[in-house]
């Protein structure tokens, strides 16, 4: 790159600058710092400008440690605030392309180093800024204007960190609200196929992998850094059942990657086509037919479930990449999902879980259900479970499933028809006819039913 005293290129990615060859430490575990990228109106950006608030490299002491902040403002007609996070993550890669510049992590836990060699060649933050302007613009056409500011003055860094944290918080609040229906791409993880060859983990905003390690956001990040790795993209396809969570894209993908063994998958149900279970799931949701309810047990619980068996025994029966009716390996995070087993009634169907787990996910359990769910302290077997549920008037006693369907959220009806008009002849041959219409096992949701006389 012109006017830059060091090389810039992909080959410098992953460069660790050792202490003995380090000129300065910026931010890092023993100091502080933050990076932030903002999408702003075009009049607030002076295109190509690089500013350093505080000392630049040539004014820094060799072997020194400085607080460090990066602020990037971008503008462009097609830019949206939602892209800030995606662009900001690129900083890590772009900075690392610079020879003699090390960049680790993101947000307000960054750590940078400049090597002695680079400092000797005259590398300054000013140059780093120019490289960033150049790389951002060449990688993203939508960025029309970009301005970079570095902070190395302690007070300025403190202010920058405070502002950055406010933005992170707002961004996270927006991201946490994302649901399966808000995205077009899901992710898959095939890491567990080494021991569960037909297990294809489908990862959506409302369902993280059973191990708890791969969320939808993590999947998105993984695909970007390791495109040929075990995590891949699943095109969502058509929505087949929004309540149980069936998508044509997932079905096709799973069918292919399980070598045709698994045909269909419901993301949010224990029945018919439950998601396969790997073996390293954090918890198991299991159907208890005797009370028509669902129990949950997690790996850290060493006691027995109301079935009389502990987690380990159940895990052995459930895992391995098969679909087990009434059993599902899940992550703890899934208990917090707004779609948690919604195909089976969600929390209103849950009857038992270990006390420790119940406490851990307390905020996710609807208030009116909290007291109605038994733990090992109240129920150690099916008999004590049944009497607890009766005493607490648990909804499963009333045939909960039907109730849930009636209450299904409006945007997620079990079946929809834009209009259902039933022509009824009130008379036959001039004589009134009595008739009845019976719907059996029907799952129909209608916002309004209009019956009109035939004109």
């Amino acid at each position: 790159m012109k006017d830059i005293p060091v090389d810039v290129g992909l080959i410098y990615e992953g460069e660790r600058i050792r202490k003995s060859s380090m000129y300065v430490d910026l931010a890092g575990p023993k100091s502080k710092g933050a990076e932030l990228l903002l999408v702003v109106p075009p009049e607030e950006v002076e295109d190509g400008r690089v500013e350093v608030v505080g000392p630049d490299v040539d004014q820094m002491e060799e072997g020194g440690r400085y607080p460090f902040g990066i602020l990037i403002k971008v503008a462009g007609e097609k830019l949206e605030e939602d892209l800030e996070g995606v662009f900001e993550r690129k900083l890590h890669y772009f900075c690392n392309y610079i020879q003699g510049f090390m960049h680790l992590n993101s947000r307000d836990i960054i750590w940078c180093r400049i090597s002695k060699d680079a400092a000797k060649k005259g590398l300054k933050l000013e140059h780093v800024g120019k490289v960033l302007v150049n790389l951002y613009k060449s990688e993203f056409d939508v960025i029309e204007k970009i301005q970079v500011t570095f902070y190395t003055d302690e007070k300025a860094v403190d202010e920058h960190i405070a502002r950055a944290r406010e933005v992170y918080e707002k961004r996270d609040a927006r991201a946490s609200a994302i649901k399966d229906e808000d995205v077009d791409v899901f992710y898959s993880c095939l890491l567990c196929q080494s021991f569960a060859p037909t297990h294809v983990c489908a990862i959506t905003p409302s369902r993280s992998g059973g191990c708890g390690a791969v969320t939808w956001f993590e999947g998105r990040a993984a695909v970007k850094v390791d495109p040929s790795g075990p995590i891949g993209e699943i095109p969502k396809g058509e929505v087949i059942d929004p309540v149980k969570g069936e998508y044509s894209g997932i079905n096709e993908y799973v069918r292919e990657k399980s070598n045709g063994t698994i045909e269909r998958v419901y993301l949010h149900s224990l029945f018919d086509y439950p998601h396969t279970s790997c073996g390293c799931f954090e918890a198991i949701a299991f159907y208890i037919p005797e009370v028509d309810g669902i129990g949950i047990v997690h790996r850290d619980f060493h006691g027995v479930t109301p079935f009389g068996i502990p987690f380990s025994t159940m895990a052995g029966q459930v895992g391995g990449g098969v679909q087990s009716q009434g059993f599902l390996g899940i992550s703890i995070a899934y208990l917090r999902s707004p779609k948690f087993l919604q195909g089976d009634g969600g929390w209103r169907r849950v009857v038992w879980m270990p006390a420790q787990l119940k406490e851990r996910v307390r905020s996710a359990i609807p208030e009116e259900m909290y007291e109605k769910i038994a733990t090992e302290n109240e129920a150690q077997d099916l008999e004590s479970l049944r009497s607890f549920l009766e005493q607490k008037q648990h909804p499963v006693l009333e045939g909960l499933k039907r109730e849930e369907e009636k209450e299904a959220p409006e945007e997620e009806p079990a079946a929809t028809m834009p209009e259902l008009t039933v022509p009824v002849q009130a008379t036959a041959a001039g004589a009134p006819v009595e008739f009845t219409i019976t719907f059996k096992n029907a799952r129909i949701y209608a916002e309004k039913v209009i019956i009109r006389r035939k004109e």
Binding site: G14, L191, C192, G212, T215
Partner: protein, 251 residues
């Protein structure tokens, strides 16, 4: 170049690994030492202190994953924590793998950790890994490609047969290694020749023979780092010979 030093417990493999680190730094090489044997202590032998092991970081990571904000990836956090855990000594860096994992799923974390360590290793001219005989760390967490695998044996026939077993095990665990060679430790004039012959009969290359050394014994006894060993001690000289041989084997 990645050198893994393995062998049964008690063969003095950590001593050899520590001396190798010293020889390589003496040759002006940039060295990363990886302590991947929870039962020994390479850091102590090298006279440095470890604040945090990767094992601890991994546990913290798993515990914290659930609460990480959606805009923060644990991958980059893990990379940052790994760099942070590196002990930066005067002329080498050291990373300690720590204890083996507990229950639960480590597939995803270990997968990423291996990538991080592989990338990190490329920054050094020489990486010396002190690994347990079971090679568990190598296969699951550290790296799957080793240039030279050194198996340290004591002066028993059984020690040399262990080298064969480690070779088979490495192949089974699909750990790629280009060369495997035996280091005969604490050899005496009476045992040396016969052991070398035996190794050759089994088709094993001998990287070198390290003689029984009173200075090493004394430092060990006092619990002092082996870096204090004087450069002209017979053991140190022998290991530097091995280091040169390793450079040839790995070239």
């Amino acid at each position: 170049m990645i050198v893994a030093v393995s062998g049964k417990g008690g063969t003095g493999k950590t001593v050899i690994a520590a001396l190798l680190v010293r020889c390589f730094t003496g040759m002006g090489r940039e060295v990363l030492a990886i302590d991947a044997d929870p039962d020994s202590n390479l850091a102590e032998a090298l006279g440095v202190e470890v604040e945090r092991t990767l094992g601890e970081i991994r546990e913290e990571m798993l515990a914290k994953m659930e609460s990480l904000p959606p805009g923060v990836s644990w991958r980059t956090t893990l990379e940052y924590e790994t760099h942070r855990a590196i002990v930066e000594a005067e002329d080498f860096d050291l990373l300690s793998m720590g204890r083996p994992e507990g229950q639960g799923c480590y597939c995803a974390v270990n997968h990423v950790l291996r990538q991080i360590i592989d990338t990190l290793a490329e920054n050094y001219e020489v990486v010396v890994i002190d690994t347990e005989a079971g090679l568990e760390h190598l296969s699951r967490r550290t790296t799957q490609s080793v240039d030279v695998m050194l198996v340290v044996t004591d002066t028993s026939k059984r020690g040399i047969t262990t080298a064969l077993r480690i070779k088979e095990l490495a192949e089974e665990l699909s750990i790629g290694f280009r060369k495997l060679a035996v280091v005969i430790n604490r050899a005496t004039p009476e045992t040396e020749g016969r052991l070398q012959e035996y190794a050759e009969e089994l088709g094993l290359e001998v990287a070198g023979v390290v003689p029984e050394d009173a200075q090493v014994r004394e430092l060990d006894l006092r619990g002092e780092p082996l870096l204090k060993l004087s450069e002209d001690s017979p053991a140190a000289r022998a290991v530097c010979g091995i280091a040169r041989k390793v450079m040839e084997l790995g070239a």
